[in-house]
Symmetry: C2
Subunit: 240 residues, 2 copies
Amino acid sequence: MAIGGSHTMKSFDAELNKLKDMIARMSGLAEAQLIATLQAMTERDSDQAAQVVADDVKVDALERQASEQVMRLLALRTPLADDLRMAVTGLKLSGELERVADNAASCAKRVMVLNQLPSVAPVRAVTRMGWLAVELLKEVTDAYLSHDAERAMVVWRRDQELDDLYSSLFRELLTYMLEDPRNITACTHLMFLAKNIERIGDHATNIAEMTYFLVTGHPISEQRPKRDVSSSTVPNSDET
Amino acid sequence: MAIGGSHTMKSFDAELNKLKDMIARMSGLAEAQLIATLQAMTERDSDQAAQVVADDVKVDALERQASEQVMRLLALRTPLADDLRMAVTGLKLSGELERVADNAASCAKRVMVLNQLPSVAPVRAVTRMGWLAVELLKEVTDAYLSHDAERAMVVWRRDQELDDLYSSLFRELLTYMLEDPRNITACTHLMFLAKNIERIGDHATNIAEMTYFLVTGHPISEQRPKRDVSSSTVPNSDET
């Protein structure tokens, strides 16, 4: 029998719902930050990019609130196994979302630099990557909020698409730099920008794993998809 | 009065100590992974780098154990405020250490590529950055394990050194690439390698903040030092 009467139970459930609401708000904000960054990139709008950088503190504040909420929850009473898993997952998940927003802000900083340089063609491919990341993020949040393990698995598998896009883009950018050294600065910033988007996919994958564990009580047993292979790319090995 | 007798209290303390031991082991392993990577970089030893990549699963396994240990702790009884903070900090801290090891493994992958290419001079500067990161990591772990807020503050402030090294290195690498396109591939991988080391400094800073909060009960009030400014570097803006 749990300690505390039904009154404590009810207030615990209410606090647990508050945590879920906070996470929903956080994921909405992280997603909005990424979308604003992609628009700023397409429209070469540095004011909008600067706004994303400035707004990152809002996500940080939400993460702190979520963390405090988890502490409040855990201090209420010894939670039952499922509730405990909800609370601890909430804590980890808000950390992932904070890092998603961090990655978006890093992208926004690079957009501000890119806007000072002549436009380079691979920007379009990077933006495409970005929209795929938005989709994965949206899907995995819905999976978490609706407690849907199957939907989480779909995101988990689809992260490979993002990794593939990133790997081919990395190669393309290197070639671009080799062809014309005037592209070096822009392409370097684009590489980091793309890497940040690829990282957002990793966070979505982590959230998918957490959701799966939360719903089913056991970790995903499938083999984890291969991650990006760009770190071992040597496109010009013949030339060096 | 806390729920549960002194027997429960004792077992709680024992479990809390187990968590601390796990974190000590994790930080030792993460540090060893980074050191092995730096040695592999200096000695161009791809076998050692491959070993670091392979050993990353060990840190992941320790993180899972730490996470389970926290769950076990929280299920024991409603913890008192200080114990609760210890448990939740342990969870977050093990996540940071897992990411430190992740960064080290990413570096090791790049080292394996660099070893296939002619050596470039900036490798030495990147290794210097790496040793500073090792120092910060060691210091902040000691601060956490010895419950020393002042020592944590020292690490927190010193991360700026790492950011400065990184920013000047980023500029140097761009110049290197512009001077001779044959350096492009190696310098690109070095940039990502340096970025990973800079990230390790960020994790050390996060651990410093957690330690400070754990010991004092309130967050660091000082202004956070400026982070790396490389994302806004345009060294060749005159040339493009």
